[in-house]
């Protein structure tokens, strides 16, 4: 039996905090509160085990170990004070998968209408995987894909199907 294109693992220990604010005005406040620099447009900035992902002009996603999520949300809310903003722990709202292996890109290329091959090393791409919205960024040896937990089973099935042995995109 040939080997699967990539190892699909559901990441259970990933905490996520949604941050919505005017990044131009509150960027420094956010960077100080979470200890990670504000990422450039459509990219991810990382410091240790925390990453800030650029989602849109007024939205960031802080990815961190799950046990730290509650404290980090409180720290952000404190730092924002009365300014118009939101820090929300969305760890339980999301399903995250790691796609690892030399052919991880093939798995994603089957599912997403995005040019992931040319995504920079620190890139963040929001797109769709078959019928559901997802976000993708790189990690050591592969990719991380996040989606809504309500469609987590669907995503897992999709990824495992796309990684079936012998289904690589290169000519055989």
């Amino acid at each position: 039996m040939a080997e699967a294109l990539a190892r699909i693992t559901q990441l259970q220990d990933l905490g996520m905090i949604q941050i919505r604010a005017d990044l131009a005005a509150l960027g420094d406040v956010i960077a100080k509160a979470v200890g990670v620099a504000i990422p450039a447009q459509t990219s991810v900035s990382t410091n240790g085990n925390r990453s800030l992902c650029w989602m849109s002009h007024d939205e960031l996603l802080l990815v961190l170990p799950k046990p730290e999520a509650v404290a980090a949300t409180a720290a952000l809310t404190d730092a924002f004070g009365s300014s118009h903003s939101l820090a929300l722990d969305v760890s339980d709202m999301r399903a995250a998968f790691s796609i690892d292996g030399a052919k991880a890109l093939h798995v994603l290329q089957k599912l997403c209408p995005a040019d992931l091959a040319s995504m920079p090393q620190d890139g963040m791409r929001r797109t769709r995987a078959a019928q559901v919205a997802c976000g993708i960024w790189r990690r050591e040896g592969g990719y991380v894909l996040i989606g809504f937990r309500s469609v987590g089973d669907y995503l897992r099935g999709l990824l495992q199907g796309a990684a079936r042995p012998g289904t690589q995109l290169d000519p055989r």
């Binding site: 447009q41 459509t42 989602m55 849109s56 002009h57 939205e59 209408p113 995005a114 040019d115 791409r125 929001r126 797109t127 769709r128 919205a133």
Partner: protein, 124 residues
Amino acid sequence: MLTLTCPCCGISAEETELAPGGEAHLKRFGPGSSDDEFESYLFARKNPKGVHFERWRHAYGCGKWFLAARDTVTLEVFGTYKAQTPYPTPEIVAAIQAKRPDWKPDWHQPSVNTTTTPAESLTE
């Protein structure tokens, strides 16, 4: 396949990542307007064979609305620009006229106003 570059996040998104929003630059006629104006605001659309301005939303991406100028026959895209624009920008008009020398803008732009209106600053 239609590929548009979202002016908000700079990503070139394929048609299925976008949600269409119909014709762009509609002027709203609400309470106090005549029945004819209201009917035309609700129902009358240009539906041209050629250059068309449209609203699109980067639904599977940054989630923002933007405007696009394209040709409905050839699917050629002339450019995309921010939704907070009352009329197609001079760059878009120039890009269209470079490809379609006969094409003329069919709107009458009031004197150029560079100050930001309250509505624009709200949606920026």
